[in-house]
Subunit: 355 residues, 2 copies
């Protein structure tokens, strides 16, 4: 039975990507060898890395003043790499706290210096995006999280900054058109819109590096990886290759304009139903609702058993809400077809009709 | 054509492992979903992680005083995590320098404190393993590299230590029987005897942790990962699963006793030929020769063109030597069948007969 995969991450990937990944495990680039048993210095894999870096820049419209890297350790390792590289000794960085991951990023930064919290929605269980703050000139950098998977909120605009603007885009990268050149550094764990867990995408302007005055361990120094063309040490070969397959798929679909179009349609379909259906309500503030993750609850918890049985019967998986919010969370990443959202909406409508 | 894969790493994996990995990409645990598009918190993946941790301990004969972790960043990230966790402020650690990777480990440790080099073979292009040193009580820990992929040397015995003994076993883990309880910490990048690049195996005694007095960023703190049962953040799902397939395969083959038996036979076959054949010579000191990586050169470089054509014709791949040594390097990891070494030996004999 065809599953409708609303998993929050690791999450659905395009069927062509899954098929291509499985095929490369058996025989990569007609080498009669598996992708995972060849040297990463083999010309066939070097070509993979080069194409993945180039396609990332092409899709985001980034120029040669940016360097793309595929690292390891997820966004969580970036939480300490960012201050290690960018915060001066005795320096200060600005953060907004918009969810669990943003909070974790702040905790790591505090190990390196002072942190100014420019905005937070923690008192409202992170159900909105703080706005109206200004980013001071005296900060070493400003850090924000573009999309909050757990709470279903998303930044629709970004503040003007005269200091480096660093953004954790783990859960909405490649989902929409933005002027990506407003950011000095973007990072994202691969396991939402890009590929399998195990790779972390970084796009950074080398011009912001080398100013912290710190001794940085090699593996934590972006400059090391830039100098090594993202192969300072053995990269996560399979995750990078599968990410490349996704990058190619996105380009074939029409790039970020096409991704945004489908994502907007999916989000509109589901949020309209959440608002219309008298049995449900959304948890995030309307203007800050995420196009990637829609969080919603039943008005009456006693319907949960029937609703859960209905969506399971329809082939839906992965829509249980995170324990911080409860209820349901439908993650609608790039590879989720509109049809899957239609199935969910039909199940919600069926519940309403019968209750 | 069947390839004989002597790649130094990422390297050959058992055919059953490759097939199982490809199959899980298509449909994992009969979920009708790919391994790479489900939550790592799904009970089917939690079971994978639990079994991989348990099997690692079982194969190495480690008890409950050890914790097994599957991290990211390769051995290279361990080079800084080890001193971050184990070296006291103003402290001192002992290292032996037996090759390129050991040297890199020292460079990272120097960022955290003092390093005593207890032995080095750098003046001899690392063609032997230093011995006869003693490990002082005043060190925070002693670090060594059990096998040197690039130079083809391997430690056959380890020093008695009253301080924590830390060993980088990236290129010979699971290849032989050892009393693994002599080590307080073992780490290894997966991409030799374990699985695809992207996972790093760590086995550590929690009793040695928490004594450095440092503030350690969460992702670099072994205790974080112990507390999170190796799932503090999203683990490298595919690399962990494929590593589990290899762990199961090793157990089915008869565990480390069986691995050692085949590895000893393969190494004997090749080194005997290197010593017997008048056209070749080995580069590593006899008693320190690695069972994993055999480095050898032609006596007369003018035979290179013919030899290279012969082994390519025989389906051999990956035996070009590293630039630091030149010539040839035959890596004979666990999954390489004896038959592949026989093919290489026949090619060497054919060259001798015709020249």
């Amino acid at each position: 039975m065809r599953k409708h995969n609303f998993s929050a991450g690791p999450c659905i990937l395009a069927p062509e990507v899954i098929a291509g990944a499985a095929s490369a495990i058996q025989n990569f680039a007609d080498m009669d060898l598996s992708l995972i048993e060849i040297s990463h210095r083999d010309k066939n894999f070097v070509a993979v890395m080069d194409e993945a870096m180039a396609l990332t820049k092409e899709l985001m419209g980034l120029g040669d003043d940016y360097q793309v890297l595929f690292l390891q350790g997820g966004a969580s390792l970036q939480f300490c790499m960012v201050p290690y590289n960018l915060m001066k000794a005795g320096g200060k960085a600005g953060y907004t706290v918009t969810g669990t991951w943003a909070k974790k990023a702040v905790e790591e930064a505090k190990l390196f210096g002072n942190v100014d919290i420019l905005g937070t929605s923690s008192d409202a269980n992170f159900n909105f995006i703080p706005k109206g703050y200004s980013v001071g000139h005296d900060l070493d950098y400003f850090h924000c999280t573009s999309n909050n998977t757990i709470f279903g909120t998303q930044m629709k605009a970004f503040p003007t900054c005269e200091v480096p603007l660093v953004c954790d885009m783990s859960s909405d990268i490649f989902s929409r058109q933005l002027d990506f050149t407003q950011f000095d550094m973007i990072y994202a764990g691969a396991q939402k819109n890009l590929g399998p867990a195990g790779a972390t995408l970084v796009a950074v302007k080398p011009s912001i590096l080398g100013k912290s005055g710190r001794s940085i361990p090699s593996m934590l120094d972006y400059q090391t990886h830039i100098d090594g063309e993202s192969m300072f040490n053995t990269p996560p070969v399979f995750s990078v290759y599968t990410s490349l397959l996704t990058l190619r798929w996105m380009k074939e679909q029409g790039g970020l304009a096409a991704m945004e179009k489908v994502n907007t349609a999916k989000a509109a379909l589901l949020y309209n139903e959440i608002d219309r259906n008298r049995l449900f309500y959304g948890t995030a503030a309307g203007e800050d609702r995420s196009d990637m993750n829609a969080c919603f609850l039943l008005q009456d918890e006693s319907h949960a058993e029937v609703f859960n049985a209905l969506w399971k019967e329809a082939g839906i998986v992965g829509i249980h809400g995170h324990r911080s919010v409860g209820g349901y969370r439908a993650s609608m990443y790039n590879a989720l077809p509109l049809e899957s959202v239609q199935v969910l909406v039909e199940v919600m409508q069926h519940l309403e009709k019968t209750h």
